[in-house]
């Protein structure tokens, strides 16, 4: 499944500020979060359709939620993962492990999304079985 009908996420806060008169950026951010949250099920389904296992997606989402990652940032992570899987269907690390490793590095925002998609196994650690 392709992302054609998902709700917009990137830059949504700025767009809302521009389109809705009298709305400040501080007001737009929660709205962008709510709208982005609505697209999480679609993006998760797209990832599962792309070959990510049900458990892997569930655990990765759990890790993002536990870390307090807002929905608009989680949407960026799922989109980046989807794009990465278009070219690499069998990543060396599970999605969950890459999310956890990247969160542990303290990355957030767009940097988190970009780093999750390209995270590689630490050669010093024994690789975990990919779910």
């Amino acid at each position: 499944m392709i992302f054609s009908s998902r709700m917009p996420s990137a830059g949504l806060a700025l767009l809302l500020v521009a389109l809705v008169p009298g709305m400040s950026q501080a007001q737009a951010a929660p709205r962008a979060r709510a709208i982005a949250a609505s697209s999480l099920p679609r993006l998760a389904s797209d990832l599962r359709d792309q070959g990510a296992s049900v458990d892997d997606v569930a655990h990765a989402l759990g890790a993002l939620q536990q870390a307090g990652i807002p929905a608009d940032n989680a949407v960026d992570v799922l989109e980046a993962e989807y794009q990465a899987r278009l070219t690499d269907k069998h990543p060396a690390m599970s999605f969950e492990d890459r999310v956890r490793a990247t969160l542990a590095r303290g990355l957030r925002g767009k940097a988190l999304a970009a780093a999750v998609a390209v995270a590689k196994p630490d050669p010093a650690r024994k690789p975990k079985e990919i779910r």
Binding site: I35, R42, A44, V54, P70, A71
Partner: protein, 102 residues
């Protein structure tokens, strides 16, 4: 509001009858398992329908997000947590997307 709920329930029931073309085996299995247990279906519906009602309203009127969430008994944090949990569950995701007519 009553009309929205009626339309949503009808959409979900109609959507449940459809088969997604490219759904992987695990996804279909999850849906079958969920559908075979009435209690699971009730729990799914209870979680998905209010979220879908809010999502539909948000889609048509994003600037009214605060009042839409409040009207559906959500805070932003609770709505976000609900959507995280729906996304983590393949059957719930499918139900949610069906309710939104996707």
């Amino acid at each position: 509001m009553k009309t929205t709920w009626f339309v949503l329930v009808a959409a979900v029931l109609a959507g449940c009858g459809e088969k997604r073309a490219a759904a992987p085996a695990a996804d279909s299995q999850a849906t079958r398992v969920a559908a075979s247990n009435p209690a699971t279906v009730d729990s799914l519906m209870a979680r998905v329908i209010p979220a879908a009602a809010a999502a539909l309203a948000l889609q048509s009127s994003p600037a009214s997000a605060d009042s839409i969430l409040a009207a559906n008994n959500f805070t932003l944090d609770r709505y976000e947590a609900t959507l995280y949990s729906i996304a983590a569950d393949s059957a719930a995701s499918q139900l949610f997307e069906s309710a939104l007519g996707r």
